[in-house]
Symmetry: C2
Subunit: 463 residues, 2 copies
C-alpha cells in the first residue's frame, strides 16, 4: 500500500500552492464589503473537500451570517471513533498602509515563509487538515477514524452564530473528540500542547460621592473625592506580593501538583522570552510563589482594564467629580465559579467602601469558567505523539492565560475531550502587517494531523 | 447739604431701571458673535460715567480684545486717599433651552428679584458702584476719596489681557487700596468679608509599565498593571484622616490662631448648609482636627481632578494598558510655595513608585500662591463697617477655597491692600439658568459702597 506521508511529500509543492490560492481570497469577515469573498473562500474549500472525497459536503448558510463549511468521512465504519476537526477560514482586515512589505492578498514566498493575511491565522490549519485527509484517502484509501470537518467563517468577527449552532446540531457534530486546530507555538521548532485556558468575568465598578461635579476650590477638603476613593479601594485589592486580597478568591482554585509544576517548568523559558520581547516592563511582577508560566495559566488574576473620572483630556479642569469608575476583569482557573467570584468581589468592595461614598459593582458580560483538558486523555496523548513524530521533539505542555471560547463551547456542549492543535508560529504576527507562516509548518502540520488520526485510533481502540 | 443716601433712595427705581437697561445688552465675552454687544455695554457704561461726572473716561481697546472701561474722580485732591474699584461687565452665554423661565436678555422682575443673565454676575456690582459715586457727586458734590474705576470686559472668557495691563499701567492705576466688587454672600441678609483665597498648583501624573498595551489574558499575572500601580500611588497620598501624606506638605502652612478660628466659626453654619444643599455626598469628609470652613479656606488640599487609562468607554476591552495617568491639583494656603509643593510631591511619588513601573509628574500651568488679606487693614475695616451699616448685621469673615486671580494680581503688582466687596447672593445661580439678583442687594450695595468711601477716608486720614 502506498504511504500517506510519501504522498504528502510528493505533493508538498501543490499543497503549498493551494494554501497560496486560498490566501488570495480576501475572506475578511469583519468588513461587510468582503462578505462575498468570505463566501468565495467557503466555495473554494467545498470544491476541495468534494475533490478529495469527503461526503455530505455543504455550506451551512443563512441570510444574516457567513457560512460554516462542513464535510465528513465515514469510511472507518460505525464502530470506529469519530473526530470533529474545527478551523476557521476567515481573516482580519489588512492594507498596505498598515506597514506590509507586499500586498497582503498577493501571497509571496521569501526565505521559506509565505507572507499573506491569514497565512498563520488560520488558513495554514485549514489546508493542513484538508491535505492530511487527502493524503490518507488518496494514498491509503481511508482513515482509521471517521472525521467531521467544521470550518468557521466568522471567527474574526465575533463568532456570532457558532455558539448557537453547536448545541442545536449535536447529532450532526457528534464525535468522540474535537480537534481545535488554530493558534501558534513559541518557536517553529517547538510544538506546544495547551491543556488549560483561563475563564473570565468582567465587571464595572462605579464610585459616587457628591450629587454633582463640584468646584475643587469651594469643596476641596470637605468632600471625599470619588477618584481618590476609587483608587483607595483598588489599591486594597492586591497585597504587596500581588496576591488578590478578596476573601475567598482562591478557595476553589485547583492546586498545582508537583508533577504539573514540573511540566509547566518546561514552558517557562518561552514565557519569559516572550515577556521580555513584547511586554518589556521595567520589572517582572507577580505572585512570588509561582513561576511566570504558572501565573499566566494556573493562577487567577484581578485586572483593572480601564479607569475614568473627572477631566483627563488635553488641558486641565479643577473639577471635583461626582463619580469615577473602573472596568475590572478576573481571569479564572478551574474550579472557580464566575458568579461566586463576582459576589465575593462585590462583598469585599462594599466592605472596603467608606461611608463617604457609595460603590456599585455590576457584571458587564456573562462570565465563563476556566478550562482544563485532561493531559492523559486519548486525544491529548495522540496529539503529543503526533507532534513528536513530525517535529522530532516532544511538545511542551502549557496552560494559556487567555480564553478560546470555542473550546469551552465544544467541551461543555458535546461533553467530549477537546485537544488544541496549533501549527502556527507566534512570531508570524497574526493580525499584524507582514503576517507569515513558515512553509515547513504546513508540511509538519499535515504530517502531525495524519499521525494524530493513527495514534488516536489506536488509543481509542484500546479503551 | 443734601444727603447721598436720601438721593439714592429717591432714585432707587431709576437705578434699578438702569441695571435692567444694562442687562438687556448681551455682553457675552465667550462668543465672538457677541463682541459688538460687549462693546455696546462698554459704551453704555462710558456714557453713564460721563453723565455722572467722572473724568478721563475712556475705553481701553485693542483690535484683539474686548475693552476695559476706565474713569476717575480726582475731586478729593492730591492729599486724599485713592481707591481703585474693579468690576466686570461681561457675562456668560445663556439660552432659553438651558432652562430659563423668561428670556435671559429680557430682564424681568418677579418677587423683588431681577432675572437676567449677568444680574448677579456681575452687573449688579457695576451699577452699584457707579450709582454710589453718582449719589455722592449729585447730592453732596463730591467724595472724600479719589476714585479710579476699572471695569473688565473679558472676565468670563479668561481675562486674557488684564494680567498684562495691570503691571504695564501702574501709574494710571496707582491707588491706596483696591476694591474688587464681585461675588456673592451666603444669604441676602448676611454679608460676607472674604479675607483669604487659596492658591493652586496643577500637575499631571503618568505611570508607565509595559512598552505597549497587552492582552490581559496572556500577560495578566506577570505585569504590574499601570492603572493598579497608579491607584496604589494615589491611595498613599492621604492618610485615613484625610491629611496629605507628602513629606513637608504642611511645613509652611501658616497656623490658625485661636482668634481666627473663632472668627471662622461664624461662617461654619453657612458652609455646612451650602455643602448639604449642593455637594450632598453620603457623608462629610475631611481632616477631623479642623472645621469645614477651616478646611475650605485655611487648609491645603491634594485633589485628583481626573484619571484615565485603558478602556473605559461603552462596552469592555480586556486590555492590560501600558500607561495610566491622573490630573492632580493642590489648593495652597499662605505661606506655601507652589514650586516647593510640586517638588515635594514629585519626590514622594518617586519614593512610592515601585520598580515595576515608572512615574512622571509634570506641572501643567504656572502655579499661584494663596492669599491672605489683613483683616485689620483700613479697607477691610471700612468694608466691615459699610456692610454693617447697610445690612444692619455684622459681616461674617471667611476664607474661600477657590482662587480669584485678579485679587492676587492687584495685591502682587500694586503692593496695596485689596478688599473683596460682593453684593451678589449665592442662591442667585451665577452661570446657570434663571440667574437673578434680589433688588434689595442693589440698593444695599449702593449704600455700602458710599459708606465704604466715608469710612475708608476717615481711617486713611487717621493713619
Amino acid at each position: 500500500m502506498p504511504n500517506a506521508y510519501d504522498y504528502a511529500t510528493q505533493h508538498a509543492d501543490r499543497f503549498k500552492d493551494q494554501l497560496i490560492e486560498l490566501l488570495r481570497v480576501p475572506s475578511i469577515s469583519t468588513l461587510d464589503a468582503h462578505a462575498d469573498d468570505v463566501r468565495a473562500a467557503a466555495d473554494w474549500i467545498i470544491a476541495d473537500m468534494q475533490r478529495i472525497g469527503l461526503e455530505n459536503v455543504r455550506k451551512i448558510e443563512h441570510d444574516t451570517y457567513l457560512p460554516l463549511v462542513y464535510g465528513e468521512y465515514n469510511g472507518a465504519g460505525p464502530d470506529a471513533a469519530t473526530v470533529l476537526v474545527y478551523c476557521h477560514y476567515d481573516v482580519q482586515p489588512a492594507e498596505m498602509a498598515d506597514g506590509w512589505t507586499s500586498d497582503p492578498f498577493t501571497p509571496v514566498e521569501r526565505d521559506g515563509k509565505v507572507y499573506a493575511r491569514g497565512a498563520l491565522d488560520s488558513k495554514v490549519h485549514v489546508i493542513a487538515q484538508l491535505k492530511a485527509i487527502e493524503s490518507m484517502l488518496a494514498a491509503e484509501g481511508g482513515l482509521p477514524v471517521n472525521v467531521k470537518v467544521l470550518f468557521e467563517g466568522e471567527e474574526e468577527s465575533g463568532s456570532e452564530h457558532i455558539f448557537g449552532f453547536v448545541p442545536e446540531n449535536l447529532d450532526l457534530l457528534a464525535a468522540d473528540t474535537v480537534v481545535v486546530s488554530d493558534g501558534s507555538m513559541p518557536d517553529p521548532a517547538q510544538p506546544i500542547l495547551v491543556y488549560g485556558l483561563r475563564g473570565l468575568v468582567t465587571m464595572r465598578l462605579t464610585v459616587t460621592g457628591p450629587q454633582r461635579d463640584l468646584h475643587s476650590g469651594h469643596y476641596g477638603g470637605n468632600v471625599h473625592n470619588p477618584i481618590q476613593a476609587l483608587a483607595e479601594i483598588i489599591a486594597q485589592l492586591h497585597d504587596a506580593d500581588g496576591h488578590v486580597t478578596v476573601p475567598g478568591f482562591y478557595d476553589d482554585v485547583r492546586p498545582l501538583s508537583e508533577s504539573e509544576r514540573a511540566l509547566l517548568a518546561g514552558v517557562e523559558p518561552w514565557v519569559k522570552a516572550e515577556w521580555q520581547s513584547l511586554a518589556n516592563a521595567p520589572q517582572i511582577w507577580g505572585e512570588p510563589d509561582y513561576s511566570m508560566s504558572e501565573r499566566m495559566g494556573a493562577r487567577p488574576t484581578l485586572e483593572i482594564n480601564g479607569i475614568g473620572g473627572g477631566f483627563y483630556g488635553d488641558g486641565f479642569k479643577t473639577v471635583l467629580p461626582h463619580r469615577a469608575g473602573a472596568n475590572i476583569s478576573c481571569r479564572l482557573v478551574p474550579d472557580q465559579n464566575p458568579a461566586k467570584i463576582l459576589a465575593a468581589l462585590d462583598a469585599y468592595i462594599q466592605h472596603l467602601t467608606p461611608p463617604t461614598v457609595t460603590a456599585t459593582l455590576t457584571e458587564t458580560e456573562a462570565g465563563a469558567p476556566g478550562i482544563l483538558i485532561d493531559r492523559e486523555s486519548a486525544p491529548v496523548q495522540a496529539a503529543s505523539r503526533a507532534y513528536e513524530a513530525a517535529w522530532e521533539v516532544k511538545p511542551i505542555f502549557s496552560r494559556e492565560g487567555g480564553s478560546v471560547p470555542i473550546v469551552a463551547a465544544f467541551q461543555q456542549q458535546m461533553q467530549v475531550p477537546v485537544v488544541l492543535m496549533p501549527f502556527g508560529y507566534k512570531g508570524g504576527g497574526a493580525h499584524g502587517p507582514d503576517e507569515y507562516v513558515p512553509v515547513d509548518l504546513l508540511h509538519k502540520g499535515i504530517s502531525a494531523a495524519m499521525t494524530f488520526y493513527r495514534e488516536y485510533a489506536a488509543l481509542a481502540q484500546q479503551a
